[in-house]
């Protein structure tokens, strides 16, 4: 079964090929949807089968990875490496199955399949239905390549593939003005991160002459001294590589300062926001950092940077989320914030906690996004929460599942978010990073507030939209609500995989998730090293609970019933500057526009002038002048006088000779006869003279 692992990424690619190239618009929406969902569904079933097979195979007990190279993709030949001197560097195309990729594989295929199903309903009235599913399948293939690849090179192919699909899907409504712009923005911002990522890969090749995870991490663990030598930018080698990879992750996972693309990415269709910009693609950065834990473990300083950036992003995005009125924007900033949590965990060395949060987040954030999609679907495209309200009675399934999602993300026990978030906060506290813990706990409070604000504004109170919209309100079809309920179940139960020890009460399984991932993070001391007293642990838990419930109750008091808009207005009236700043997202886009983008344009213009003036004007035209005026002139002179002179000279000599010798031909027969006689006489003379000798 494990040998079929190659089929998992190939199937979605096949679906994309069928829908996008072979069939295109020749089939109706129904067939296209069946193809797209079938390949994803089969891939999901296959993935579950393979994970089952892998986890139950005694040959792979203890998290031994299953790895298979299919062929050597790039035989690059000998390179000089720091670790081993000259070495043959090959990039094989191969897949790796270990506990970490198992988790990601399950999340991506399972959530991906549900979102495919949901999209069939959501996109049913849209133009470009086939195109949508082509891109979605293409995305699935690239994402699976990313998580299954056994080397950074294969990961990078998937990494760029998902970036491309993200671009294509953000700009899906290409006839409007904003989506294509948002798509380009996402693509360009990601390029900045990718640049650093490639630098990191280059450093890995230069150091170890390999990009395969198994070889690289083995070498990293074997050469801690080498990794501690000076690299670049005043960092150690490990620090430099870690920083480069982290900047790449910042781009993909929307961390400060490269997060600006993600909120704009909401211009794409909502299922895309759920699948790519919440559940799977944006977690690729976290996956990559967790995958590279062996390197980060040796780069303490950079790990701290990762944690601080994560914490800052978390609270930064959470505060923005409070002041947004677009339901998808709230969720987008919530995603950025939750990704910040994941990096906080990864930076503190709690890689399994980060991946745990990736998984739980995939469930509840996909659920919330799909719920918001269902609302938008019912509202006929309306996204402003100020025009919603009271949708509970019209959309019973959506409102209930959305509420479950909100509970999960707010960290209300025993839902998924509680366990994963608590594990991260616990790590921060146990490591003595009280400031990070405080940031995390404040973010948790904010999360609860803005999530329930969005819930109350949307579903409670009275309807505030137009009469026409109210008439149009309807619950989504079962193909959309079923995925919602399945994800809701996931959002409730996923957390139970990672129950902390003291909450097991002696009979529940303790932190199965962490133990499952342990082999991948095995060389890492992890957060298990930090033990805190039971009292403190209970205390932290109590604070988390108080915060979560407090946030919920605060939101309920402020926004419950019909108070929502009034509360927003009161907030704006009391601290107008703060509200404006938050609603305008701290003016980050404007700051970037004024500095980076303007600066970029100015540089472009400067370079253009340099190009036009110096390169074109001086070098190119100068070269032209030298060649035309000097060389071609001299060559033309040479041609004219030497070559032509030779040719004409030959002619002139001939003509002169002719002019001279024509005189001999008088035409008088007597002259010829005389010459004949003279010749004969001369011959006789010669004859006689010769005889006389």
């Amino acid at each position: 079964m494990k040998n079929l692992i190659w089929l998992i990424p190939v199937l979605p690619f096949l679906g994309a090929f069928l829908n996008g190239v072979v069939l295109r618009h020749r089939v109706d929406k129904r067939t296209a949807a069946i193809i797209a969902c079938a390949v994803t569904g089969i891939a999901a079933a296959l993935a579950i089968g393979i994970i089952w097979d892998y986890t139950n195979d005694p040959a792979f007990a203890g998290g031994k990875p299953f790895e298979h190279d299919y062929y050597v993709w790039m035989p690059a030949g000998p390179v000089h490496t720091l670790a081993e001197g000259a070495k043959d560097f090959n990039i094989p195309l191969g897949f790796l199955l270990d506990p970490l990729s198992c988790v990601m594989l399950f999340v991506v295929t399972f959530v991906g399949f549900l979102i495919h199903l949901y999209s069939v309903g959501y996109m049913s009235h849209e133009e470009g239905f086939q195109r949508f599913f082509t891109y979605l399948n293409l995305f699935m293939g690239a994402m699976l390549l990313l998580i299954l690849g056994n080397s950074y090179a294969v990961m990078f192919v998937g990494w760029e593939g998902v970036g491309l699909c993200s671009y294509l899907l953000i700009g899906f409504y290409y006839k409007e003005e904003f989506p294509p712009y948002a798509g380009r923005k996402a693509f360009v911002v990601n390029r900045i991160g990718d640049f650093a990522f490639v630098l990191g890969l280059g450093a890995l090749v230069a150091t170890f002459g390999s990009l395969k995870y198994t070889e690289v991490f083995e070498a990293v663990r074997a050469n801690p001294a080498l990794m501690a030598t000076a690299g670049h930018l005043g960092l150690t080698l490990a620090g430099f590589i870690a920083l480069c990879l982290f900047i790449g992750a910042c781009g993909k996972s929307a961390q400060i300062p490269l997060f600006v693309w993600l909120p704009d990415a909401m211009a794409g269709p909502t299922p895309v926001s759920a699948l790519i910009h919440a559940a799977t693609m944006v977690t690729a950065g976290v996956y990559m950092v967790a995958r590279s834990n062996a390197i980060y473990q040796l780069a303490g300083g950079v790990s701290m940077v990762v944690a601080v950036v994560g914490a800052l992003t978390a609270i930064f995005a959470a505060t923005i989320g409070i002041a947004q009125n677009d339901i998808k924007k709230v969720l987008a900033y919530s995603t950025v914030s939750q990704l910040g949590y994941m990096f906080l965990a990864a930076g503190l060395g709690a890689y399994s906690a980060a991946i745990f949060h990736v998984m739980t987040h995939a469930f509840f954030k996909a659920l919330l996004f799909l719920g918001s999609g269902s609302v938008i679907h019912a509202m006929g495209g309306e996204q402003d929460m100020r025009n919603m309200g009271g949708l509970k009675k019209h959309l019973p399934h959506t409102s209930r599942t959305y509420f479950i999602g909100a509970l999960a993300i707010a960290g209300i026990p025993p839902l998924a978010g509680f366990f994963s978030k608590d594990e991260i906060l616990h790590t921060a506290a146990a490591g003595g990073h009280w400031i990070l813990w405080a940031v995390g706990i404040v973010t948790a409070a904010l999360t609860a507030v803005y999530m329930f604000r969005s819930y109350y504004l949307t579903f409670e109170g009275h309807f505030r939209g137009t009469h026409e919209q109210e008439h149009h309100l309807h619950e989504s079809p079962p193909i959309m609500t079923t995925p919602l309920w399945i994800l809701a179940v996931g959002a409730v139960l996923a957390g139970l995989l990672g129950i902390p020890k003291m909450l097991t009460f002696g009979f529940l399984p303790e932190d199965k998730f962490g133990h499952f991932l342990e082999p991948v993070m095995e060389a890492v001391g992890e957060h298990h090293a930090h033990h805190v007293s039971a009292g403190l642990e209970w205390g932290l838990l109590a604070v988390a609970l108080v915060i979560a419930f407090g946030g919920w109750l605060l939101a309920r008091r402020l926004y419950g019933g019909d108070r929502g808009l009034a509360a927003d207005q009161a907030f704006a009236a009391r601290v107008p500057a703060v509200q404006r700043t938050l609603a305008n997202k701290y003016y980050v886009d404007e700051i970037y526009d004024a500095t980076v983008i303007r600066g970029f344009w100015a540089t472009c213009r400067g370079l253009f002038r340099f190009d036009a003036g110096f390169i074109d004007g001086f070098l190119v035209n100068g070269a032209r002048n030298v060649t035309v005026e000097l060389l071609s002139l001299s060559s033309s002179l040479f041609d004219k006088y030497v070559v032509d002179g030779l040719v004409n000279g030959v002619g002139k000599v001939m003509s002169l000779g002719g002019r001279l010798f024509r005189r001999v031909q008088t035409g008088y027969v007597s002259n010829y006869a005389l010459v004949l006689a003279a010749g004969m006489f001369a011959l006789v003379c010669v004859f006689v003279l010769m005889r006389m000798r």
Partner: protein, 102 residues
């Protein structure tokens, strides 16, 4: 009585040859030129016969008869050319026939 020796023949032959050569080179009338050529040919014949007599070898005399035969042919061809020239130029003056002048 002065004996006539081979030398005398040779002197006569030389005189005839010289007259002929002079005629070929100096005269303008083509008929005269042809006659001068005949003179040159006959001076050669005289030479051949004189040596044939002196050496008692008949080959020279036979050769002279061949030469006379060829000279007859030559005269015929020469007169043919003469007529052709006359038709072309209305004259037998050789200095009018200067088509080959370079």
């Amino acid at each position: 009585m002065l004996a006539i020796t081979t030398n005398h023949y040779l002197i006569l032959s030389f005189a005839l040859f010289s007259i002929g050569l002079f005629g070929v080179a100096a005269r303008r009338n083509m008929i005269t030129v042809l006659m001068s050529i005949e003179l040159i040919l006959n001076s050669v014949n005289l030479n051949l016969i004189a040596f044939s007599y002196q050496l008692s070898d008949l080959t020279g005399q036979i050769f002279a008869i061949f030469t006379i035969t060829v000279a007859a042919g030559e005269a015929a061809v020469g007169l043919g050319i003469l007529i052709a020239l006359f038709r072309l130029k209305e004259s037998t003056q050789l200095d009018k026939a200067t088509e080959l002048k370079g």
